[in-house]
Symmetry: C2
Subunit: 424 residues, 2 copies
């Protein structure tokens, strides 16, 4: 049999970059990985989860529904709590906006599942997604698998460069490609990989721009806001989500997750969506799994309606703040001055940029030497889309203080600094 | 904005039949639903799950990995146990076959997720899936959403009618459509909706037939075996899975689940797949969720490696046996003799066929009258694919003894019998 039976999607889906990095990591037992997007191990809420589960499973009244099928949209109570929590956050961030409701909300198997379903719902092969340059590399995997075209928009300290976004839209208008543009994807809080947070003002202006170009697209162009890291702020003030731009609420697809702020092993994500999109998402999710595992949902319902979640968050933030300081202190001590990086205010990542003449990619001397010195980073090139309108940058590194412990953070940065000094 | 931004898939995915049935159910508070595919509430393993979780979360050594991200393929220990359990089942069913291995195995968010991913991996719009007539209606949702063509193969008491399968293949060969045929989908144990179990002999013969026609397809034609109800046998002997047909092991996609035999709220499914398909499945699952929630997986690992799972199964089987008897006794008492049905040997369903002149569909008088009498069944028509080569049958009902308690099973069947008597 010569030909394969695979579909277009089956044939074109590439192995995720992260698998390769994990294999590399496994092959070197003394390696310090600053690559993985794992969350902090020591602060995982073991006792809280155990107590919540004990409570849930002790009584048939709460235990049975937790071990039974639910509905595709999710536990009604969790949908309600999720809408309320997201609204409170926006209000606390200064927004004046009507309450978000359970009926706008869907609970998913991580927010990743929702990113996948939204892309399925909106994008045909050849369609265009505009995204940050660089962006979350697993999203690039979704786009690649669905044979989408990507256009990158440069980042500034407070989020995407609006002038560049306008330029991209204008050039797509000129080339007649706007009808293919379905959405702008933004990782809006402590962005993976750069740590950048997009200001609320910029989200509103981006929505205005999208609306302006919609008439040439002939259909809505959505803002897909991925707020996965929102809860992980340890300094500065929260920005409101795009949901708070009430005038544009029919264009905002808001996704976030309890995985990062509570436990990645519990894996509960969610979305707050306009009704016509939510309806399609539920139809598609009906085919994916007809509902996220109820036990996981009930843990989050219990965590949010007790004090467990609210007590856990400040501890988690303090922990990441400490690990971030460990990392940045080590960077200051060990990295050559030509490396550019910014102090993180939340999230899990520092983005370090070396001069353009130095390459950092998987095939680069820098990456190989780092590996030989038992330290692993995510090569920046993996976070850039295949955007034919620019050359793919290849001189940055994503380094994470999420998974490694403080000793290894310091050790890893010292090793990486030593390697960088050889190149600079 | 007149046009929508939806993709082909977004536009063509229909609302799942089950949502409509659930809405109907909610609108009538005294309704007895024999429609839902819910599992039995009273036998859900509350105490066992609580104890397992208490044990897992008590120690950081086991608790932390349970609350952390894992790998896309799943917990290595659970993959190993799953391969071993599936192999033992086949050996116990009389098969002589080499061990299945962890490296062939993937853990998924229910087996539904794997059915979805396998279909994505193999099928482009317009491709053909051959399936049982009738079949699992949520699979029909996946096929419909992906704009697949379906061809139904009639069922006999021991599984698909092989002569009809050959006839379908032959006619696809003649019309030049074999290159579009990607797989034969069989729900092989206590099939949803008919309760039919496919004999091992028939699986082997189906694989032989598929292989014979492959040369005209120009690529492999897979047997997708959905063994979701396998563990729910309460009488008779187990049949080996198609995996045991070693000669054809490169063509068998075996999917099953712990949701039904353990807890649907825990939602852990799995697959045992040929390496070239597993690789693609893992790439796609990397984009879906990069791994099933670890906490759920660790519960199943603990259940399988302790006595919890093995102790639970016989209790569960006894419970379903009892509920099945309650249902069949009530059927014997209340249904007119013209209704054809078979004694279930496992699973959750009885399939009842009324004479052809009586319609049972959602718009039928029978269905409406049943609803007015506060009893809900799944209309058989929902379980039939849109196969242009035959008229869709519309005179059967799927009635489930899974979710309802014994009192309601008896009550529901009495009501349904009363309605049927008006029509016969």
């Amino acid at each position: 049999m010569k030909r394969s039976a695979l579909s277009e999607l089956g044939r074109s889906t590439e192995p995720p970059a992260i698998s390769w990095l994990m294999e590399v990591a496994l092959s070197r037992p003394n390696l310090v990985s600053l690559a993985a997007g794992f969350t902090d191990n020591e602060s995982l809420p073991l006792n809280q989860t155990r107590e919540l589960l004990d409570e849930i499973l002790r009584s048939p009244k709460t235990g049975r529904p937790a071990l039974q099928y639910g509905t595709t949209a999710g536990d009604p109570e969790l949908r309600k709590l999720t809408a309320a929590v997201s609204h409170s956050q926006d209000v606390a961030a200064g927004a004046k906006v009507a309450k978000y409701t359970a009926s706008q909300t869907v609970i998913t198997h991580g927010s990743q599942q929702l990113l996948y379903i939204l892309t399925e719902a909106l994008c045909d092969p050849g369609d265009i997604v505009i995204l940050e340059d660089p962006t979350y590399f697993v999203y690039l995997g979704i786009a690649q698998s669905h044979r989408l075209q990507c256009r990158g928009v440069r980042l500034e300290a407070d989020g995407i460069d609006l002038a560049h976004l306008e330029q991209v839209l204008e050039s797509l208008k000129k080339s007649g490609d706007l009808p293919r543009v379905k959405m702008l994807y933004l990782v809006s809080y402590f962005q993976n990989p750069t740590g950048t947070t997009t200001s609320f003002a910029k989200k509103v202006k981006a929505l205005e721009l999208l609306r302006r170009y919609e008439k040439f697209a002939g259909h809505p162009i959505y803002l897909l806001e991925d707020a996965a890291y929102r809860e992980l702020r340890f300094s500065g003030a929260d920005e409101a989500s795009a949901l708070a731009a009430a005038k544009f609420s029919d264009r905002v697809l808001y996704t976030s997750t309890y995985s990062k702020p509570f436990a990645t092993g519990v894996r509960v994500g969610f979305g707050i969506l306009p009704p016509e999109i939510l309806e399609v998402v539920l139809r598609i999710k009906g085919n994916h799994d007809f509902g996220t595992a109820n036990l996981l949902q009930r843990i989050m319902t219990a965590a949010l309606s007790s004090t467990a979640y609210d007590k856990h968050l400040p501890q988690l933030r303090a922990r990441y703040a400490k690990k971030a300081i460990t990392m940045t202190n080590a960077i200051r001590e060990h990295f050559p001055s030509q490396v550019e990086w910014a102090e993180p205010a939340g999230g899990l990542y520092v983005w370090a940029k070396v001069p353009d003449k130095i390459k950092s990619g998987t095939k680069s001397k820098l990456f190989q030497t780092a590996l030989e010195n038992d330290v692993l980073y995510v090569p920046g090139e993996l976070c850039y889309a295949n955007d034919p309108t620019r050359r793919k940058p290849n001189s940055a590194m994503r380094i994470s203080f999420g998974g490694a412990n403080e000793k290894n953070i310091a050790l890893g940065i010292a090793r990486l600094g030593g390697v960088l000094k050889k190149f600079l």
